[in-house]
């Protein structure tokens, strides 16, 4: 595998009159966890769709090396399959049934749903369903994980728990990850690098590197600092000190 498995070179994309991306260049390294945040409608999901090949650029080049899987916001599980059968989708390429059965067991244990293999998705809570989605995407040996706001449909506490679990899962099964989110805290807790996008046409406004062991607490000073910086870049937070002066 190359050291930069995901690359965009001078990529532009328009839907009719609307210019979504304009001359964007981006490289994502092997094993790197990159989070993309930005105002809604700025083309975050479009970036994932470019990587996955679902959308073709109007100009420029998209290069992707390796097997890729996408996790959607919700309802990506097949409701007619059980939890075990859904996870088995991720193991389809494995030749030996014994190996598939072993990995299935391992994944069920990893997401803490050992006794739930025979349940159907509609019998599970939202958080459990997203765990199964992650397990399905991480099962087998793919290289790249594309996450499209995977936790946004969950309540805050479940979100916190799942961020932690994702971090632990990635420790067991390292992947190159691109996470699209509007949740700045999620980005700061999980990513090695956070890209803050501007309004349409999206440019990278700023890049934040976080060299910090995962899982990270939401209240870790560096995480809080990163959230502050991201929000400031998005124009949603005003300098705390100047606010104090005014008082």
């Amino acid at each position: 595998m190359r050291d930069k498995p995901l690359r965009l070179e001078g990529v532009s994309l328009s839907y009719g009159e609307v210019e979504v991306l304009s001359d964007l260049t981006l490289e994502i390294g092997a094993g790197e966890f990159v989070a993309i945040v930005g105002p809604s409608g700025c083309g975050k999901t479009t970036l994932l769709n470019l990587f996955s090949g679902f959308v073709k650029p109007s100009a420029g080049r998209v290069e992707c090396d390796g097997q890729m899987r996408m996790v959607f916001q919700h309802d990506g599980l097949f409701p007619w399959l059980t939890v075990a059968e859904n996870i088995r989708m991720g193991l389809r390429h494995l030749r030996q049934e014994a190996e598939r059965a072993r990995q299935l067991k391992e994944m069920l244990a990893l997401i803490g749903l050992k006794g739930f293999g025979g349940h159907y998705p509609h019998q599970l809570s939202g958080g459990m369903r997203q765990r199964v989605e992650l397990a399905r995407a991480l099962a087998g040996d793919t290289d790249i994980l594309l996450l499209d706001e995977p936790f946004s449909a969950l309540d805050y506490l479940t979100r916190l728990r799942l961020r932690r679990e994702l971090a632990l899962m990635l420790r067991e099964r390292p992947r190159t990850v691109v996470l699209v989110t509007h949740d700045t805290e999620e980005a700061a807790q999980l990513a090695d690098r956070v890209l803050v996008l501007s309004e349409r046409p999206a440019r990278v406004r700023c890049e934040l590197n976080l060299d910090l062991e995962r899982p990270r607490d939401a209240t870790h000073p560096e995480v809080v600092g990163a959230v502050h910086r991201i929000l400031t870049e998005l124009g949603l937070e005003h300098d705390a000190e100047s606010a104090l002066v005014r008082m």
Partner: protein, 257 residues
């Protein structure tokens, strides 16, 4: 569509209604408000029932009607489901055929009775034809609508996990439309059962519809009521049988969300 779970006591309630209705019927006929020839008593209906069973005519009529309904309905499903899938998939074909299908769906199948007799004579074939005409178009429309409502995310997921085109059909499309199709089958089977009675009245020499017509011509109101009761009971049984399909674990999601 959720099935209620009734407690044992609640299950007795319909039985109580049935007994009360029978009692009312018996009371009304014992006052002789109407002549027996217009308002048969429960007892004469029971006697008529036994007579029909002993002569073997009832069984013969039931078998004839069920055979026609089953054949017409199975043909309609076997041809209508693939056509519905195809129309759901091909926007051009849908634009071309949908108005015609809507036209035929809104045309009462009974309007075909004269042609059915002219083309196919009397017996099984005209009845099967009419049942087919009654069931085919609703099945097509329901399958098409079910296909159109499959969330596109399922196909993206399937692509992600390397499903090929045949697997897309058998492992994504069909299971995804199954709950809606089962509901449509229940509705359509009920429709087909309604139509068989009418078809046999005019284009039959046997069958439950013919039995009713025959009883009317012979002024045997007791046998007419026997026919009505049997038709109603079988209609309910057909629905109960089809409702079992909704208990299949892999389609439950369609009824519980």
């Amino acid at each position: 569509m959720r099935e209620e779970r009734l407690s044992p006591k609640m299950r007795l309630l319909p039985l109580a209604v049935l007994v009360a209705a029978l009692a009312l019927w018996a009371a009304l006929s014992s006052f002789r408000l109407f002549p027996e020839s217009l308002f048969p008593s429960p007892l004469s209906v029971a006697r008529g029932f036994l007579e029909e069973v002993r002569s073997g005519r009832l069984l013969n009529d039931v078998v004839a009607s069920l055979f026609r309904v089953t054949t017409g309905f199975v043909l309609a499903v076997a041809l209508g489901t693939p056509l519905g899938l195809w129309l759901g998939h091909q926007a051009k074909a849908r634009a071309a055929f949908l108005p015609a299908i809507n036209f035929f769906r809104n045309l009462s199948p009974l309007a075909w009775i004269p042609f059915a007799i002219l083309w196919f004579g009397i017996g099984d074939v005209p009845a099967i034809f009419l049942i087919f005409m009654a069931s085919f178009f609703p099945v097509v429309i329901a399958t098409m609508a079910a296909y159109a409502s499959i969330p596109s995310v399922y196909f993206r997921v399937a692509e992600n996990y390397g499903f090929r085109s045949r697997e897309l059909l058998t492992q994504v499309t069909l299971p995804a439309i199954m709950p809606q199709v089962i509901t449509a089958l229940r509705v359509t089977a009920g429709l087909a059962w309604l139509v068989v009675v009418a078809a046999e009245m005019i284009a039959g020499r046997d069958g439950l519809g013919f039995a009713i017509w025959d009883a009317r011509n012979g002024l045997r109101m007791d046998l007419l009521v026997v026919g009505m009761i049997v038709i109603g009971v079988i209609g309910v049984v057909i629905d109960r049988v089809l409702v079992q399909l909704t208990r299949i674990p892999s389609v439950r999601w369609g009824y519980e969300r």
